[in-house]
Symmetry: C2
Subunit: 195 residues, 2 copies
């Protein structure tokens, strides 16, 4: 039932329609929690049934009427209650790692291409997070309620950076050349960050 709570968390910011929530899940909170619009609409109905959100219909012309969902006090309490229990660490569950595990039975060229694509993907995300950080929190400071968002972005940067470094290492190791050696202790390599 974590998606429901993620939606409640979004609605603490401001009331939103399902459509807006879907977009939010494509950007800010969606960086670490993917959900498409069907899931969100379904979950919203459930939350409404439980009384955690309240829907207000806004009549529109030309477009279908929209339902603006507001967090109720019950919803806020439910979120607080949920947040009070210890979280459990999520597992990584990445296809690529399964491929790596069975590296002996895998086409190496495809694997290398895959890692290269991933490298770009994670570089992109790292850059995106850094851009958002610089824009939303230019002094590295935030009001209390926004501290979590700042920290989430910083985790994003750290995580993507770690994966980027790993992709680079993997490509080097798998390049065939110095294949089986020259692995250096982690955290020693050149570091081109904002140094």
């Amino acid at each position: 039932m974590a998606l429901g709570d993620a939606i409640l968390a979004c609605l603490t910011e401001r009331p939103m329609t399902g459509y807006e929530l879907a977009k939010t899940f494509d950007t800010s909170i969606g960086f670490f929690w993917k959900a498409d619009h069907q899931q969100i609409y379904r979950e919203l109905s459930k939350l409404r049934d439980r009384g955690h959100v309240q829907a207000r219909e806004v009549v529109q012309t030309g477009k279908p009427n929209k339902l603006v969902y507001t967090l109720t006090s019950e919803g806020r309490a439910a979120l607080k209650h949920w947040a009070a229990r210890p979280s459990r660490p999520a597992s990584i569950k990445d296809d690529l790692l399964v491929r790596m595990f069975a590296l002996g039975d895998v086409d190496m060229d495809a694997l290398r291409a895959d890692i290269m694509a991933r490298l770009e993907h994670h570089r992109d995300r790292q850059a995106r997070f850094e851009r958002i950080l610089a824009k939303r929190f230019p002094d590295g400071t935030a009001a209390h309620a926004d501290l979590g968002k700042l920290l989430n972005l910083r985790l994003g940067v750290r995580h993507e950076r770690a994966v980027v470094e790993w992709c680079e290492e993997a490509l080097e190791v798998l390049s065939g050349g110095a294949a089986t050696s020259n692995v250096t202790p982690i955290g020693e390599g050149p570091r081109e960050g904002k140094a």
Copy 2:
């Protein structure tokens, strides 16, 4: 259908029973892919129906007979085929990040306690990965077929290290004291690794 492929990947090492696979999913490959025994047995039946694995019954006394599953050539081909398509990056989906996002509506003491528990958890995992690395790959070298396992462990170390550093940062920022400031560029802090 990724769990099925993860099982096939495990079986490239050697034939195993469902029970052994469940244990494997608790240790090596399970560091990044959790699955309990029910899931594994279910998936094994499916894989057998598809002809990707073959079951051989081994009669035992005192214990229920066991079914040793062997990867068939069809299974190996299916794995290869699956591995050839580009992987898609997994999202993080961590409860803790949702809590952080809604930080204004959350009990701060519980949140801090949660982060502290996580810090320990990730430190443990980092240490475990480093221990396994040192034991299985003492020279940082591996035969081709094992390179993926080495790299996976090194990703594990990198990932856990990133999260550990973030937990420390989060605790500092949320400690109330210098609450809203003193965030330094990432990748600059003291680094107590094997330096």
